[in-house]
């Protein structure tokens, strides 16, 4: 391997290529748009709960759905899970989510309903 490329303590000089620059600009646009959208969703969730006219049986599933949408936007737009070369990262995270989905209702039932 070329020693110049493998020295990790050398400062990186220069800018990105035109192609990368374009890609970064597009990425930044997507991220700002998703940020504005997340602010909007958060406000909707708070308003849903703050207004007394919306019944709980509608409000609770609705704000949970908003939370899931927001988290997916974080994971895919801010944390780049959809970029190439993220296959294993997706597997790691989704395995965690899979276990989490079973953990939450199990604990709710065991200590909330059965009450050991």
């Amino acid at each position: 391997m070329d020693p110049h490329v493998s020295d990790p303590s050398a400062p990186l000089k220069g800018g990105p290529s035109k192609k990368t620059e374009k890609k970064l600009a597009k990425e930044a646009r997507h991220q700002v748009v998703s940020f504005v959208f997340m602010i909007f969703l958060t406000s909707v969730a708070f308003l849903t709960v703050a207004s007394d006219t919306i019944p709980n049986r509608f409000a609770i599933p609705f704000i949970l759905l908003i939370a899931v949408v927001q988290v997916l936007m974080q994971l895919y737009y801010f944390m780049h899970l959809n970029d190439r070369g993220n296959g294993w990262n997706n597997i790691m995270l989704w395995t965690g989510i899979f276990v989490a989905i079973m953990t939450v209702p199990t604990l709710m039932l065991l200590i909330g309903v059965i009450k050991f």
Partner: protein, 206 residues
């Protein structure tokens, strides 16, 4: 030793400086493995909270305690800090090291602001409402869940500050690029957990 100095040639910025070395790739993969584990950790705390949240004994209930305005400010602060760390990483990929450091400092400042709100909140509950850690099952599970998240924010603040001070003058290298990148992933994950905390704990508890 003189030879080691000579190796330090400048090199061109790769498109993904955080994944350009094997070490960087390993850090990246290992960090996602860690985040999968963190997901399960928080799931167990959420499950416990949801199971115990009605067990208020004679202590205050969540309806008496929670103030939506405070939680709204905290949510906005944390969401904005997520965006500043995104800007930091974009600057890193552009090779703008000053921009990376500046946006990371902004992230740290917002994290500290969030923590101050949370400390005020816990102080308010303990002193003004008499909700101690062992007042009720609700109190214990609430403080454990939200406190664990707060501890993660504190750890993130300390971690990113350490990186910023340690690498204040080195410029962007293939060694520190993965470190900054994983720190930003950690910060986003903190925000992901907070989205569920404000929804499940605060909005469903008012």
């Amino acid at each position: 030793m003189a030879q080691a100095e000579e190796v330090k040639h400048d090199q061109a910025l790769p498109p993904y400086p955080e994944k350009a070395t094997l070490e960087g790739k390993n850090k990246f993969l290992g960090f996602w493995f860690f985040l999968g584990g963190e997901t399960v950790l928080f799931a167990s705390l959420f499950g416990t909270y949801l199971g115990l949240r009605n067990g208020v004994a004679d202590g205050p209930t969540s309806q008496e305690l929670f103030h939506l305005d405070l939680v709204f400010y905290m949510t906005m602060i944390l969401l904005t800090s997520s965006l500043t760390s995104v800007f930091a990483i974009i600057n890193m990929k552009k090779g703008n090291y000053k921009g990376l450091l500046g946006w990371m400092w902004a992230t740290v400042a917002l994290g500290v602001a969030f923590l101050s709100f949370e400390i005020y909140e816990f102080w308010d509950y303990t002193v003004n409402y008499g909700l101690g850690f062992s007042t009720s099952a609700f109190a214990s599970s609430f403080y454990t869940l939200v406190g664990t998240h707060g501890a993660h924010v504190l750890f993130g603040v300390l971690w990113i500050s350490t990186l910023l001070i340690r690498y204040a003058k080195t410029g962007l290298t293939l060694t520190n690029a993965p470190k900054f990148y994983t720190a930003s992933l950690y910060w986003h994950f903190i925000d992901v957990v907070w989205v569920f905390i404000f929804t499940v704990v605060y909005l469903m508890g008012v």
